[in-house]
């Protein structure tokens, strides 16, 4: 346990002092800032009072719905990039630099190394996520607290669920990137493959792909929904649109509806985690 924590601490410090990762985190915060600016412009233009796509005749609920959507999608979209980068730097970056090989020849069990690295990297991701979540939530509240005042309790109660959803989504791509980096020796290709896997997840959740295949097979709605729900992107879409942003449901109803999709995301995370651990144990990482 002691060694695991030492490896985790080292991993955390390494990531924290990695200048490239700091650039990515800064880009993350910049991305949030720019999106907040867009929301401010939409608010000024009265968009949420007349947006025909919203389902409720309640400006407060409309805006709270949009804000929860923003929190989920902004955090998950950029979180995935961050997760891929952290997973890649933790394994492929160190494999290439020889640091992982040096660590593997130390009198440490391999599971200590992988558990320590995973804990350290996840700790780093959680810290960045906490910062980004605080940044975006406080930004949105500063911009729109007056408008959403009637539903602010309901909104704040759902924010942790939105953050957790985004964190689970990020963890999927963190472990996927880790696994790919362990399995593929060409580390540049490993990163590109992780990125492509992420974009395929997005592709599976689009009508142009899932809808077309389902239509060809004669069951646009049922099969289309099934294909969409198989990808992490489809899962967070289902969580966000069917549960999180549905203010017709009370909090328990919302959590109840989130359950199955959240469970699927968590299951993918666990499968990828186990596969990464097995790959690390069995593969020659030199």
């Amino acid at each position: 346990m002691g060694n695991t924590l030492v490896v985790a601490e080292k991993e955390f410090k390494d990531l924290l002092s990695d200048r490239i990762l700091l650039v990515i985190v800064s880009a993350f915060l910049l991305y949030i800032l720019v999106d907040l600016n867009n929301i401010r412009n939409l608010l000024d233009a009265g968009f949420f009072l007349k947006d025909p796509s919203v389902t409720q005749n309640n400006p407060a609920a409309n805006l709270a719905q949009t804000m929860l959507n923003q929190i989920t999608f902004m955090l998950s979209r950029y979180g995935a990039i961050l997760g891929i980068a952290v997973g890649f730097l933790s394994i492929a970056g160190e494999r290439h630099g020889g640091a992982l090989n040096a660590l593997a020849v130390k009198p440490l069990r391999r599971e200590t190394i992988i558990v320590g690295k995973t804990v350290g990297a996840l700790g780093f991701l959680v810290c960045v996520f906490t910062l980004a979540s605080a940044f975006i939530t406080s930004g949105l509240l500063i911009l729109a607290a007056n408008t959403i005042a009637p539903v602010i309790g309901e909104f704040l109660a759902r924010v942790p669920a939105a953050i957790l959803t985004a964190l689970l989504y990020t963890a999927v791509f963190f472990f996927l990137s880790m696994l790919i980096s362990l399995l593929i020796d060409n580390y540049a290709f490993a990163l590109i493959l992780s990125l492509l896997a992420w974009s395929v997840s997005g592709l599976l959740a689009t009508y142009a792909f899932a809808g077309y295949i389902a239509t060809f097979l004669g069951d646009e709605k049922g099969l289309g929904s099934l294909i969409v729900s198989l990808s992490p992107d489809g899962m967070i879409k289902n969580i966000s649109y069917n549960a999180l942003t549905n203010f017709n449901l009370d909090l328990w109803g919302c959590l109840d509806r989130m359950g199955p999709e959240t469970f699927k995301l968590a299951a993918i995370v666990i499968v990828l985690l186990v596969l990464s651990f097995v790959a690390f144990q069995r593969r020659d990482i030199a």
Binding site: I20, L21, L89, A188, I192, L203, A208, Y212, T215
Partner: protein, 274 residues
């Protein structure tokens, strides 16, 4: 006479470097992965066209083949080709750093010729990849649904689509090369490149005021969708009307290409150690 001979020698050297770069990209794992995905997208689009496209005929004006069939795949094709362009550009320089690039620069060729050769080779490869993908998509749709209403209109619009994406991809390949030259390690270069691409494609960060004109993504989409109604896919609007509005953006993209090429030449000229 000597100047003429030197120029011819340079052109031959650039052509050889370009041909070499082109050959290297054909079997690259990134190319294979991206092309595999593009084929899957083309197949899904072709299969879906059998039932989806006829449904539009009863209520939509214009050529459904172009307006719906091609526009449905346009975003995904653009996205994957852009990823390929930036990454291949980056790897052509950063991946070479400790190997062939060093050897290459000890040869009697100018550094700018190396950049030009790689740039042209990559551009030609991307043009081939884009053209093959769109032709495959069109062929599968024609087999599954029917051919375009007007072959002339289709040829013009397809050529415009291919050329617009080719310009965007060439610019991204140039940016990829620049990132590859600026960062000391491949690890850093590739993480920065991927982050840049994701911000370009998925955030609004590039769409602020004048900054948007520096974004290949924004300019590319303005070429395709010159206005809300005048787009390259809308066959109810004459092609010339679209072209008139799209040309300034295409010109901006060409200027961007020239600028990035010059920057790359300057950066490589100042690079002591490769």
């Amino acid at each position: 006479m000597t100047v003429e001979r030197r120029t011819t020698g340079e052109i031959v050297a650039i052509a050889q470097l370009a041909a070499n770069e082109f050959r290297r990209q054909v079997g690259h794992p990134v190319t294979i992965a991206v092309f595999g995905l593009l084929v899957v997208i083309a197949l899904a689009n072709g299969l879906g066209s059998i039932k989806v496209l006829p449904a539009f005929e009863s209520w939509m004006s214009g050529d459904i083949f172009i307006k719906v069939g091609l526009s449905q795949v346009f975003f995904n094709i653009s996205q994957y080709c852009s990823v390929a362009a930036l990454v291949l550009g980056l790897l052509s320089v950063a991946g070479d750093r400790r190997r062939t690039m060093g050897v290459l620069l000890t040869k009697p060729v100018l550094k700018r010729d190396v950049v030009a050769g790689k740039f042209i080779g990559l551009g030609a490869f991307m043009l081939l990849l884009i053209a093959v993908t769109y032709l495959l998509v069109s062929l599968l749709m024609a087999l599954a649904y029917r051919g375009p209403a007007s072959l002339e209109e289709f040829t013009l619009r397809l050529a415009a689509l291919v050329l617009a994406l080719f310009l965007e991809c060439s610019l991204l390949a140039g940016i990829g090369m620049l990132i590859g030259m600026l960062f000391a390690s491949l690890k850093e270069a590739i993480v920065v490149g991927v982050t840049y691409l994701c911000i370009e494609w998925f955030s609004n960060a590039m769409f602020m005021d004048l900054l948007k004109y520096l974004s290949p993504y924004y300019v590319y989409f303005r070429i395709i969708n010159a206005t809300d109604t005048i787009t390259v896919f809308n066959t109810t609007v004459p092609f010339a009307d679209w072209l008139r509005l799209a040309l300034p953006y295409a010109a901006l993209m060409v200027v961007g290409l020239i600028v990035i090429f010059i920057i790359n030449c300057i950066v490589i000229a100042r690079t002591e150690e490769v």
